[in-house]
């Protein structure tokens, strides 16, 4: 796993990095799994809610798209932050769906340019990054690196996912639970943003960030423009992905724990990629078997939001911070398992964020 090198003799990097603020934007419109299945073109016997644990997901209405979700999430993040937009030195946009103005998929100019202009951070270094559902965590991994070595003081990672259009397209083609587009029915729309900020060395914050790509599985999930309708389609070998994720993720979690000097039982909250209740529970079981004990809590919020792609971990963090679930000093592990196969781990130690999240500036 690619992670920050270990420092010897008690020495550490010049700075630490912490999550300073988290924002989110969820569209108001709700689409239940029952409604989605009822609208499918072919008559099936799929009980989507029972299969995935997803009762409903949020979906964009007219005038909402990847860009508007990203900007609204970035504004929410800034409203909760003690920093002003102009203090951001880097803005990284990580949307998989790059829809602007409906279903126009923008390749150039970068979305990050439009986001930083919209929020008033025109001087921030900006670029877009694509790493499937691991996009936002990859952005945090990179900002953590820039901040810890003292190159910048603060930056934002932001994503807007208008991804329910894939579900709408899949609803025209799915005929059975063996369909390669079945996973598209789990998707929900959301925007999320996170500010990563420099903190004095040794302070709580990002205790570990590491990533690797098990690319022998790179073609198990492909997302591309739809062949016969607007928007995109996603083709997933869901059973194979599930199998290889169960097999390959635990050793990498072990590597991350070793890198951060922790046991899995030291983790208070595990936030895995929110795909389905069954997959999350199966992953939790596999981790318990391997490490002898599991995290104290595993967060599952798919029932309300579905799989919100690259925003998934930060939508969950935002929700649970808002509910006051975390206490200062608790350790939260974000575990990403995304198309590629990208496996990433970020360990956070909760600090002032638990108190500042509810405040607006």
């Amino acid at each position: 796993m690619l992670a920050e090198r270990r420092w010897k003799d008690g020495a550490g990097p010049p700075c630490a990095a912490r999550i300073e603020s988290i924002g989110a934007r969820l569209p108001k419109r709700r689409l239940t799994s029952r409604e989605l299945v009822a609208g499918m073109r072919h008559r099936t016997h799929i009980d989507l809610e029972r299969l995935t644990g997803i009762r409903e997901r949020r979906v964009c209405s007219d005038g909402e798209d990847s860009f508007t979700l990203a900007v609204d999430a970035a504004r929410d993040c800034l409203a909760r932050s003690s920093l002003r937009a102009e203090e951001l030195e880097m803005v990284v946009c990580t949307s998989i769906t790059r829809y602007v103005g409906g279903l126009s998929y923008r390749l150039e100019p970068p979305l990050s340019l439009s986001v930083k202009e919209a929020i008033g951070a025109p001087r921030a270094r900006s670029f877009d990054l694509a790493n499937a559902c691991a996009g936002m965590m990859t952005g945090v991994f990179l900002l953590n690196d820039f901040i810890r070595r003292g190159a910048i003081r603060a930056g934002m990672v932001v994503s807007g996912e208008f991804i329910s259009s894939l579900g709408a397209n899949a609803a025209r083609d799915v005929r059975s639970i063996y369909s390669r587009q079945l996973a598209s029915l789990t998707l929900g729309d959301a925007g999320a943003a996170v500010i990563v900020q420099r903190a004095p060395s040794g302070r709580a914050g990002i205790a570990f960030a590491g990533f690797t790509t098990i690319s022998e599985h790179s073609r198990l999930c492909l997302g591309l423009p739809a062949s016969q309708m607007p928007g995109a389609e996603m083709f997933t070998k869901a059973r194979t992905i599930h199998k290889v994720a169960m097999q390959d993720a635990p050793p990498l979690v072990g590597e991350a724990l070793e890198g951060s000097g922790l046991q899995l039982s030291d983790i208070d909250w595990l936030i895995p990629h929110q795909t389905s209740t069954r997959a999350i529970r199966a992953g939790e079981r596999v981790l318990r078997e391997r490490f002898g004990a599991g995290p104290k809590h595993t967060i599952v919020n798919v029932e309300s939001f579905g799989n919100t792609a690259s925003t998934t971990h930060f939508v969950a963090l935002h929700k649970y911070l808002g509910e006051g679930a975390f206490r200062r000093g608790e350790r939260v592990m974000l575990l990403s398992v995304a198309s590629g196969l990208e496996i990433g781990v970020i360990v956070l130690v909760m600090d002032d964020l638990v108190e500042t999240h509810g405040r607006t500036h």
């Binding site: 769906t97 390749l107 100019p109 970068p110």
Partner: protein
């Protein structure tokens, strides 16, 4: 010190029967780059792809992951003992993508996180039959970077964006119900370039480069080699003229196959390495331009 360039390579496609997609072009360039650097794929611990126009406009996964698998760069896990595998992802920063990817690799190398990074970039029209306005030559490029030693490596990067010109170059994949070449309609690539884009991009590049050199206390005459984007086509020559950089210090441009997009600066870098100009240069200035308008510049010391 920042990342040191170990090798660079590019590959271009002819039209017609010999046309190749972005993935194939990028992988050919990557293999040539590894050969030139006498490195094996499994030595790479970081792989960043900066190409924008991908085969079938693939949105997921990162094309870098597919390239990693095809190259055989630690595709499985567990990796070899004492190795941490390879981490791959894509950067999307238009014509500045390759330099942005180099900046990210430089940062991870400075921190000691990465020991050997491969930056790849490649573009080809994903659907030449139905697309509109694709202006770039099909090409792939790759650069291998490692920790710098003896004062050699990237010293500084800078970016400026000029959002007031964002509408001058736009590329989208959008639904076209009545595309004459796609009978039932289709999602097609549409590139809209305003005639003023090239001049504005050059003016923005000149302004950004001037400020960057002034900040470093350098003059144009101190630049031994200028490596620039190949698009817009006059960019390198105009920046050199405005900065009073002698023309012979400009890395070779695209040649008869036309300007490449994200692989353009890599192809010019490769030509400068092949001619010996890179080895003789003390100060190498990189200037890239893309939609936005975005200008990214970097100083590399040898």
């Amino acid at each position: 010190m920042g990342a040191r360039i170990e090798s660079a390579a590019s590959w271009r496609a002819h039209r017609g029967l010999f046309a190749r997609g972005a993935l194939a072009l990028t992988e050919i360039a990557a293999r040539r780059c590894l050969d030139r650097g006498h490195r094996r794929p499994e030595d790479i611990d970081l792989l960043v792809n900066a190409g924008v126009y991908k085969d079938r406009s693939l949105a997921e996964p990162a094309l870098a992951a597919i390239i990693q698998e095809d190259l055989g760069a630690n595709p499985g896990h567990p990796a070899r003992p004492h190795s941490h595998g390879t981490f791959s992802f894509d950067v999307l920063d238009g014509g500045c993508g390759a330099l942005t990817a180099l900046e990210l690799a430089d940062s991870l190398i400075r921190a000691g996180t990465s020991r050997l990074a491969l930056i790849v970039a490649g573009d080809a029209d994903p659907s030449p039959r139905t697309s509109h306005g694709f202006p770039f030559a099909s090409a792939g490029g790759a650069v291998l970077v490692e920790p710098g030693e003896g004062g050699q490596g990237f010293e500084r990067f800078a970016q400026r964006t000029f959002a007031e010109h964002a509408g001058l170059f736009e590329a989208c994949v959008e639904w076209e119900a009545a595309n004459p070449k796609a009978r039932r309609g289709g999602n097609v690539l549409v590139v809209r370039e305003d005639p003023a884009f090239a001049d504005r991009a050059i003016a923005c590049a000149v302004e950004t480069t001037g400020a960057f050199l002034a900040d470093l206390g350098l003059r144009g005459a101190d630049v031994d080699l200028l490596v620039a984007s190949q698009y817009p086509p006059r960019l390198a020559d105009e920046v050199a003229r405005a900065m009073a950089i002698p023309r012979e210090r400009v890395a070779p441009g695209p040649g008869e196959l036309g300007p490449a997009h994200t692989a353009g600066p890599i192809a010019s870098l490769e030509a400068a390495i092949d001619s010996g100009a890179f080895a003789l240069a003390r100060n190498v200035l990189f200037v890239t331009a893309g939609a936005g308008i975005t200008i990214t510049v970097a100083l590399y010391r040898r």
